[in-house]
Structures are given as C-alpha cells and as structure tokens.
Amino acid sequence: MAKEKLTRVKKSIASGRRSFLVLIAVLGPGLITASADNDAGGISTYSIVGARFGYALLWTLPLILISLGITQEMGARMGMVTGKGLGGLIRERFGLRMTAFAMITTLVANFGTTMAEFAGIAAAMQLFGVSKYVGVPACALAVYLLVVKGSYRRVERIFLVSSVVYLSYVISGVLARPDWSSAFRMMTVPTIRPTTAFVFAAVATIGTTITPWGQFFIQSYVVDKGLTKHDLAYERIDVYFGAFVTQFIAFFIIVACAATIYAKGLPINDAADAARALAPLAGGFASSLFAFGLLNASLLGAAVLPLSTAYATCEAFGWEADVDVPPSEAPIFYALYRAFIILGAALVLIPGVPLITVMYVAAAVNGILLPVILVYTLVITNDRGIMGDHVNGFVFNVVAWVTVVVMIVLTAVLLGFQFLGIG
C-alpha cells in the first residue's frame, strides 16, 4: 500500500515538474504579443486618454482585458490546431476574393501602425535632442538590417527585456498619489460622454490593444514555435497572462497621466507633454525616461509589424516569404517589407506632421478595421471542419461577437457625430 502511494506521489511530482517545464517552454507568444501591444500607439493613446479624460475610461480596461484574452486565445488555438498562419487559413476557408479583402484591410491598418511606430521613434529622438531627419532614417535602416542580416528572434528578445522600463509608469503612478478610490470606482462604473473626442478615445483605446496585426502575429508565432493542440492549456496561461500585463501597464499609464497632467489641467500636444507623467518618479529625467520607453516600444513595433505583415500577406497568396533567401527568390515579400519601412518612415519626416496625433489616429484606425479580421477569425474558429473538437465555446463566441458589435457601433457613432457636427 505504502509502495503504491509512493509511486502515485512520485508520479504526481514528476508530472507537476513536467507541467512547469512545459509552461516555461510555451511562455512567449502571448507575452510577446502583449508587450508589442504597448507600442508607440499604445503609450501615446493611454497617455492622451489619461491626460484628457482622467480616470473616465478606466472602466474599459477590464472589458478590454477579457476581450483581448479571448481573441488572442482564439488566434493561438487556430495556430496550434491547424499548424497554419491566419493568412493561409483565411485563403483556404474563404477563397481568393475574400482573402484579398482581408489582406487589404490588414495592410491599411498595419501601415497606419507602422507609421505610428516611426512617429514614436521621431518623437523619442526629439526628446533626446536628435533631429527626426537623422534619427528616423537611421533607426529604419538599423531595424531593417538587424532583422534581415541578424537574428530577428534575438532582436525581439532584447527589446522585450528592455520593456521592463514600462514599470516606470507603475512606480510613477504610485508616487503621483492618485485618488485610488476614485480610480478604482471609475474602473467599475462606466462613464459615457456623448462627444466625438470621448468616442474617438474609446475606439483608440480598444484599437491599440486588440489589433488586426495582433491576431496574425500570435497565430504565426505559435506555429513558428511548433506548439500543437497538446500545448493548449499552457498556451492559454501565457495568453491570459500577457493580456493581464498589457492592461496592467495601460492602467498605470492612464493613472500616471491623470494624476499629473489631467489633475493640473495641462495640455498634451506632444511627447514632451506626455513625459510629465513620469515626473513623480524621475523628476528632471522624466523626459529622458519617457523617451527611452517610447523609443524601445517603437523600435520593437517597427521591427515586428512590417515583417509580420509581409509574412501574412505572402502566406495568403502562396508567395515565398523568408528573410534567409535572397530578394530574387522572395521579391514580393521583400518589396512589402521594404515598402512598409521606407514609406512609414518617409511620411513621418514630412515637416509639421503631428507625431502624437499620428500615433493616436493609427490606434483608432486599428479599432475601426478590427471587426473585419475578427469576423474571419470567428467563422474559422467555429468551423468544425477546420478546428475539429476545438471550436469556440458559447462564452468565447459571445465575447468575440460583442467585441465586433461594439466596435461597429462605436465607429458608426463616431461617423455620425462627425456628420452631424456633434462635439
């Protein structure tokens, strides 16, 4: 009896240890996607939201967290069950025409975000006292060479490790002594203001977090890592944890800006204004600290986004896509990748381009176009012919469809307000 019990105990210990090792091994796609979510668009959107509306939009964060976790899980699950990226799945499920529509939507959204990343680089460079006409081209070239000549994964990990700088918002948010009771109350009580600016902020807050590119990215990442449906349970932990981390940082960026910029009635028109949120922590170095975080976020985004866009598009149409082959063997892949970087950087160099506005608007564009990709995702994840037993459950379908409907309604309201000239 004792021997049997010992065997059972040993087995449970061994399986626990194996479980932990498996969890460590699969950790990554969710966390990486989440960190990439806090890009230039993310930092600027949360800063503007906190600086202009105080705590009024905090209530959206828990809802976005749930939606983000579920939509990202769907993307990861599709990748693990089918072993294919989202572009390829869309093509095989919907055919050529619908694929073209999906990819055009994605290209538009992703190009906006790529511009935002370079706008972030420009803004950060200016805070460091470097002209954008020097900094942006240099960074564009550096990102291109690092990815094409170096190891993309190593570059990604460097940026991810340095993402720990976002914790400065957590510390600054605490040191700013915000009204915590008010902040937590506003997190649970929805506030709705019938103005264009408020609705736009809501669309941008959602759009900077749940993005079309994020859906493609997490799916291709799990496929790249070789994760299968046997890793589903562990990958869910990774995805949900990543979603939590994203919103945790977003919360403190908003709170820090609300407690410093909003509370003093200060404007937020550029990156220097947004950097004030870090003054409680860094004092006179707030500007440099903010610039470092923004630069880090923007470089990661600039490295990830054009590349994943080029991969996804080529996968959808069956063209060669590989940074390890010469351009003559993958001409469309390289053309897309280069075009995104060159055009994204070039447009930001136009004199007078309002950098923080570019980042903010790009986030809203993501939000407006998000329903298109989510609908494709929902059809696929409910198709037993593709997903087998791993189709969406009821709760997942409800949350995902609610997300689609909310974004469509918000977009319609925004357009309606514009048309009617409201606020």
Binding site: G88, R91, E92, L96, A316, F317, E329
Partner: protein, 191 residues
C-alpha cells in the same frame, strides 16, 4: 475550357424534371492520370432525408453528397442535370478520390525543390459533352513579380507551347503529388 470556380461552383443542380436538388460543391477525380476524368459530382443539398438507398431517422441540413458522374445527364451553361428523380440518387464515397475545391484550389503549389510558387486560384476543365477532364491548374496574378522559380516554370511552359504570350496555367500532368495533410501540391521536375 471552363474554370471550376468561375463557371461551375455553386451552379444549380436539378433532376430530370427540373426539381432543384442543390448546388455544385465540388468535383472528384482520381489522381494518377495526365488529364483525369471527373468521376463524381459533390452537391450541397439544403437538406435531405435519405443518403443513397438509406432513409434517415431524421432529415439533415446543409449536407454535401457525392453522386457518381454516371448520374449526370447534362452539363448545361446554367445548370447540371441529373438523370432520374430527386431524391432517388446513388451516392459514392470520396475515399481515394481528390476533390477539386477541397484538395486543389487555394492550396500551395511548390516546385520539386520545395520552393513556394503561388497558391492555386482555380482549376481548368475540358468539357466534351457531359465528360469533364481536369486539364490545368490556373494561377492568377502571375503578372506580379512573383518568385523567380515560378517565372522559370512559366517561361519553360511558354517555350514548350511556343506561345506568343506567357502561359499562366500549369498542366495537371506536371503535378507530382497532392499532400492533403500539408495542403501542398508538388510539381514534377521540369525538363
């Protein structure tokens, strides 16, 4: 010559009295021949209460059944006519057969060295009365600067055909393998 997606997919299927049966879902053929004959017609039925000789306990919605091509009476411009009266048609298994839409269209085409060429946009069929044969794999957008490997394949085919314009269809006889698990079609080495 007709293209499956362009001309046949979702075409109405009726019986000999004009009663709607369903719409064309797919075509089945055996792999191995240079220009394989279509052996069966996959029809999507809105509902049915029988499958072949078997009457079901309850009707099923939205089902696709495979009818042997011998039951096709005519392939007209706007419909396919089955000989006999609905629902009294025989049904065959898809085992061992390839399906044009499910296994070929939108799948990845690679050359014999594994280089990606493009995804298959459509399949071209030769119609001779009521007989259909799989002739070619159709690739659109070859005017784009696609891979050098695809360009080589198409240039060789153009030279072989002595065509004045670049061909953008690949003869089915050049398809060496259809990997259903990987959704990949592999071409034979070109000589």
């Amino acid at each position: 010559m007709i293209r499956f997606k362009e001309a046949l997919f979702h075409m109405p299927v009726t019986d000999e009295e004009g009663t709607p049966v369903g719409q064309v879902e797919d075509l089945a053929f055996a792999f191995g021949e240079a220009t394989p004959v279509v052996e069966a017609l996959a029809v999507e039925l809105p509902w049915t209460d029988r499958i072949g000789p078997f009457r079901l306990v309850r009707p099923v919605d939205d089902i696709a059944l495979l009818f042997p091509w011998s039951q096709v009476a005519a392939v007209e411009e706007s419909r396919i006519v089955l000989g006999g009266r609905h629902p009294g048609f025989d049904v065959v298994s898809a085992e061992g057969l390839l399906l044009v839409r499910q296994d070929v269209i939108d799948k990845q085409l690679v050359d014999d060295e594994g280089n990606r060429l493009q995804r298959v946009d459509d399949v071209i069929l030769d119609q001779d009365g009521r007989t259909l044969r799989v002739e070619e794999v159709y690739l659109g957008m070859t005017w784009l600067p696609t891979s050098v490997h695809l360009k080589e394949v198409l240039q060789r085919l153009t030279r072989k055909a002595r065509a004045s314009e670049e061909v953008d269809e690949i003869p089915w006889q050049l398809v060496d393998d259809v990997d259903r698990d990987a959704d990949v079609l592999t071409l034979k080495p070109l000589q």
